[in-house]
Amino acid sequence: MSRLLVCPPDFFGIEYEINPWMRLSNRVDHDRAVHQWHELMRVLEQDIGVALERISPLPGLPDLVFTANAGVVVGRTAVVSRFRYPERRREEVHFARWFREHGYDVMSIEEGLYFEGAGDLLGFPDYWFGGYRQRSDIRVFPILSERFHREIIPLELVDSRFYHLDTCLCPLSGGDLLYFPEAFDSYGQTAIAERVSSGFRLAVPEDEALKFACNAVSVGKHVVLPIGCPATQSWLRDRGYETHTVHLDEFMKSGGSAKCLTLALD
């Protein structure tokens, strides 16, 4: 059974601006956010049958809810993130403690390099993609590649609205891929096209990419994605996936959606 790490949104809110989505003036409706989060958890647990691990929220860490950025978990090893912005750096200790307490070998990234976890490292069983330039440092990938014996193809993120790789690229089981090509430069687009043949990838239309269609949670043949992405949904169904949609617009105010709110544990 798939296990995901999540964090209840008790202290979620917008307290700083570190991506183009965040506006201090754009207040989060807290009750609505809590309701949306619980609905996502219900879909994951009840409709899909995922096991959820909950890390306790902390006041003053509004983005702890986005557990995808805690780090990346490979087997029993957890590579803890080193955030680019000091606003999120205080989350590192908290995540590291959780991993340690849950029996993971904790690996940290050397000083001076940034790495924002599963937000920037995701892929297929035999190779991964690594997003760099906005948040993570490209120099991290050779280190992780050597550690986990996995090919990591770095992709430069060129649009600040898609500041993490998981906002514009989503590998699915069965080798399919959702992505928003314009978030990458021509080299990245070519690299993706050479790896995933055209029938297996959907170039998500811009309006749906901006609703974070690519920030989907993929568990087996289930795909959970934000509501309002009909073209993506229809392509997924044609490819044999069962889609689940949820309202997550309160979290979009912070630049995150379904995938950002979860971290795959194994």
């Binding site: 490209i138 193809i153 080299y187």
Partner: protein
């Protein structure tokens, strides 16, 4: 020529991701060039690849801009060590491990900065100033106790010569010496360079000097008139020779002979063997070659032309010299440094009919100076090339024919 360079390393899955292609494109698009020094492509998907790239630019600013642009893509500057220096233990003595120069453009790393070594010449040491900001070559004999001298090879970069853009005989840089090679095109190329350099020289541009180093065979063989013409027409800007060339040139003016041979009659004249001694004696009595010319005793020839044109001369003496003439430097080390002082600014060197002066001058010239060595004996240009002056174009021909043909190519009517 690209003067600035830095070596960067790139590693990871840089091939399929096109990161290497992107970095190389960036370098070119921004106006730099690169050499891919070492590329290792991973044999399996998991195995990473790595590449070492030498980036070259024409300016420091451009190099910095390129480094800044490619660093986010993982290119990291390979930090090279600063060069090491040690104080000279005593006057005239270099530290044991001193770095010996080549005649190629050389830079050393001082306090993290690449600094051009000035006065490039082969077989010298490199002295660093007290502030560790400049570097200059220094001959062993001129070293003073405590001078900071570069030791070892760390932090020293020698730049191989790039093929010159001019597509003439100097563009090949192959040191070919052959008596069978047709001389005409080679001389035409030399003439065309000289023509261009004379224009530059007349405009007062620095770095446009033509140097001629020659032996007395020029006079014996009948090349005196052609060389005199070349000097008078402003094609020669520096002259290196010995006692003999000067003595026989003035002998010809005073007696019409060269080493006793009547230059017109072509045979020995009675007591002709004394002529050069009498010439030397006369000039010694006057006090200097310059005074002999200005006073009207010497009226024509190479020495007269040099004095009138203000062409600086270095007369280096040898062990077999008669006299010698006033102005001949008999201390070889002093002669060497007088010659060395005139090398900066030389853009073409003609080494004609003298093994001794050709090799001595060749040793002083940086590889960047196009050089022609003319001798009837093929072993002279070969010797020069063997001693490292690979930029030399060798011409196996008689000095007089060479100078006459060269002068004709430059417009002298005969």
């Amino acid at each position: 020529m690209d003067h600035y360079q830095e070596r960067v390393a790139l590693q990871g899955h840089i091939i399929d991701s096109l990161v290497l292609a992107k970095v190389l494109d960036l370098i070119l698009m921004m106006g730099g060039t690169f050499d891919l020094e070492d590329v290792h492509i991973g044999k399996t998907r998991e195995e990473p690849s790595h590449a070492r790239i030498v980036i070259k630019t024409a300016s420091k600013t451009l190099l910095d801009d390129i480094l800044k642009a490619i660093q986010p893509h993982g290119a990291s500057v390979e930090r090279e060590a600063n060069c090491r220096t040690q104080p000279a233990p005593a006057d005239g003595i270099l530290p044991e491990e001193f770095y010996a120069t080549t005649h190629l453009p050389t830079r050393i790393r001082l306090q993290g900065r690449w600094v051009e070594v000035d006065g490039i010449e082969m077989d010298l040491a490199v002295r660093v100033d007290e502030q560790h900001s400049t570097a200059h070559t220094i001959p062993m004999g001129e070293v003073r106790e405590g001078n900071q001298i570069v030791v070892g090879r760390e932090g020293v970069r020698v730049t191989p010569l790039q093929r010159p853009s001019e597509r003439d005989v100097f563009g090949f840089m192959e040191s070919q010496v052959s008596a069978e090679r047709p001389h005409g095109p080679v001389i035409a190329d030399i003439a065309s360079r000289m023509h261009h350099l004379r224009e530059q020289h007349r405009l007062g541009r620095s770095g446009s000097n033509i140097l001629l180093a020659g032996g007395p065979a020029i006079i014996h063989a009948g090349g005196r008139e052609a060389l005199t013409w070349l000097i008078e027409q402003g094609f020669i800007h520096i002259l290196f020779c010995g006692n003999a060339l000067a003595a026989h040139d003035m002998e010809a003016d005073l007696y019409g002979t060269s080493l006793g041979y009547g230059l017109r009659a072509g045979r020995t004249v009675p007591h002709g063997h004394e002529h050069h001694l009498r010439t030397i004696n006369r000039i010694r009595a006057i006090g200097s070659i310059k005074a002999a010319v200005t006073s009207g005793v010497i009226t024509h020839g190479i020495m007269a032309a040099c004095v009138r044109q203000g062409v600086p001369m270095v007369l280096a003496g040898t062990i077999r010299d008669d006299g010698p003439l006033p102005g001949v430097i008999t201390d070889s080390v002093q002669a060497q440094s007088a010659m060395r002082a005139l090398i900066p600014g030389v853009r073409l060197a003609l080494l004609v009919a003298s093994t001794l002066h050709a090799v001595a001058t060749g040793n002083l010239l940086p590889a960047t100076v196009p050089t022609v060595c003319v001798d009837v004996n093929p072993s002279v240009p070969t010797k020069l090339a063997d001693r490292g002056s690979f930029q030399t174009v060798g011409l196996v021909m008689d000095a007089a024919s060479f100078l006459a043909e060269l002068a004709r190519a430059l417009g002298r009517s005969t």
